[in-house]
């Protein structure tokens, strides 16, 4: 077992354990914070897979952005701790079917894939390549995404503005 294996298992454990807590916790805050560790663990996995850029994006977008907003929302909700999240079992049958289908699909993919073992080597940085690919091959999609985000931004701003005028 070398260093990378140990780090991998640490990150895997963080991801899985905090993922389980996220799902099972009855306290929204706990769930939100363990989601943070899940994201973080996943980012660690990305690093180990040699996807450094993706992992940083994972942190900056999920941990730094979405999760903080989520926490903001949760914290400003009334009576955070006293709200009981229903964790009883409802709709057991459809859930079982859904989970079974999904699990089956995953397992079949895992079994059928021809896993090739490549000798471990320090992966090259992906940032430069990613950049040139994004701005050359997929430039239209990239720009469309940018426009989409811009529209979302303008929409959010206009919603915020309108309610303000009404309250005035």
């Amino acid at each position: 077992m070398n260093l990378y294996d140990i780090i991998f298992y640490i990150f895997a454990a963080i991801t899985v354990v905090s993922g389980v807590i996220t799902v099972t916790s009855k306290n929204i805050i706990y769930a939100a914070f363990s989601l943070l560790f899940t994201f973080f663990g996943v980012a660690g996995m990305y690093v180990l897979l040699g996807a450094d850029f993706i992992s940083i994006v994972q942190i900056i977008v999920y941990v730094g952005g979405i999760l903080i907003l989520l926490l903001f929302g949760v914290m400003l909700t009334n009576k955070v701790t006293s709200t009981d999240i229903k964790s009883g079992s409802v709709n057991v049958l459809p859930a079982v079917i859904g989970v079974a289908l999904f699990a089956g699909a995953l397992i079949s993919i895992i079994i059928r894939t021809k896993w090739t073992e490549t000798p471990g080597e320090i992966p090259l940085s992906t940032a430069g390549t990613l950049g040139s690919v994004l701005l050359n091959e997929y430039v239209i999609i990239f720009e469309l995404l940018a426009v989409l985000l811009l529209i979302a931004l303008i929409g959010a701003a206009s919603i915020a503005r309108r309610t303000k005028e009404e309250t005035n």
Partner: protein, 356 residues
């Protein structure tokens, strides 16, 4: 550095840990010791006072005494606090501010990681601090803590945008995210620093200078806001919120928050120095080169890096004891109405100039 330790210990894991912990023990702790004292001395001198004078000669050991006191203090956890999160929060905050040091090139011989995403990593990982602060504020079960935490998070997230924009303009100019490479580009003489247009030549360099200065000012202000220091210290505004998100903390946990704050101060100063002022590069050649002593160069580089970093830390203190605190709305106005538009325009102009 890692290789040297690997040679020495012969154990991969051990040497990894040692080289990772090196900046903490070799740099952050001593820095915090000095900086806390410096903060008090600077504030005292600016107000025509003397500052601490009792412990040690001229009060130089004051921080040591303070830390000993903090060690001995009872670790109080409020009975209605959320114990798990309460204990986790300082660790998270410190981890966030410490992780930043991984990507900062201290000298030619020591940098935590040569990762190509260096500066991007710095921007990302510092968001861990926000999560930690929110956690601390919420777990304390105290209205002041929560308000402070929420304010802090809002502030840090807002000011991340101008920071990122300025960094982006530099990255665009340099063509790399790697802080080490960025430093290497500003080598030899101080007119190669990015504040003076970087390694560009001719008309391009002259055109760049004013926009680089604007970029520097924006970056400096917004990093100042990101480390929650006066005039942007509304998350811990004493007159309104007691002490903000660490109101309920005492003893060692408080010390960790404190350490994280000072680590952050140096981290952002170091980043400003690295981006605009040549990082560990000397402004005019090295003594090591002059005398042909190889091993002197990294030490000199470390010295230059420390001097530059400390200078910006000093400016932070200087500002702190000059300016009053902003109001929340002023804070947001400044960020969204002034800094972001300026940063945007600056980004575009630098982009155009770099095309010339």
């Amino acid at each position: 550095m890692y290789d040297i330790i690997l040679d020495f210990t012969g154990n991969e894991i051990l040497s990894m840990f040692i080289s990772a912990a090196l900046p903490l023990f070799m740099f952050i702790l001593p820095f915090a010791l000095v900086a806390v004292l410096a903060e008090r001395k600077v504030s005292a001198f600016m107000q025509d006072r003397l500052g601490p004078t009792r412990v040690g000669p001229k009060g130089l050991l004051q921080t040591v005494a303070d830390i000993l006191k903090l060690f001995q203090k009872e670790d109080i956890v409020a009975s209605n606090a959320d114990k798990k999160l309460f204990n986790l929060a300082p660790i998270l905050v410190f981890a966030g501010s410490f992780a930043v040091f991984a990507a900062i090139p201290f000298s030619g011989a020591y940098i935590g990681t040569f990762a190509d995403v260096g500066i991007f990593f710095v921007v990302a990982i510092s968001s861990l601090v926000v999560a930690g602060i929110l956690m601390a504020g919420w777990a304390s079960n105290n209205k002041y803590s929560l308000l402070g935490a929420v304010r802090s998070a809002a502030q840090i997230i807002s000011y991340e945008i101008p920071t990122a924009l300025v960094i982006l303009s530099l990255v665009m100019l340099a063509g790399t995210l790697n802080l080490y490479e960025l430093t290497e580009m500003q080598t030899e003489y101080f007119w190669n620093w990015y504040i003076f247009g970087g390694p560009a030549t001719g008309i391009q360099k002259i055109l760049l200078i004013p926009f680089m200065i604007v970029g520097f000012i924006i970056l400096y202000i917004s990093t100042l806001a990101e480390v929650n220091r006066t005039p942007f210290d509304i998350p811990e505004a004493e007159s309104e919120l007691v002490a903000g998100y660490h109101t309920e903390y005492s003893g060692m946990k408080f010390a960790i928050f404190f350490l994280a704050e000072y680590a952050n101060m140096f981290a952002v100063s170091a980043i400003v120095a690295t981006l605009f002022f040549g990082g560990f590069q000397s402004p005019f050649g090295y003594l090591g080169d002059l005398f042909g002593v190889e091993w002197l160069i990294p030490i000199e580089q470390f010295g230059w890096f420390t001097v530059k970093g400390l200078f910006f830390v000093f400016v932070q203190m200087w500002l702190r004891w000059t300016l009053p605190r902003l109001r929340v709305d002023q804070l947001m106005t400044m960020c969204w109405k002034y800094m972001i538009p300026y940063a945007f325009v600056n980004l575009i102009i630098i982009g155009i100039i770099s095309l010339i």
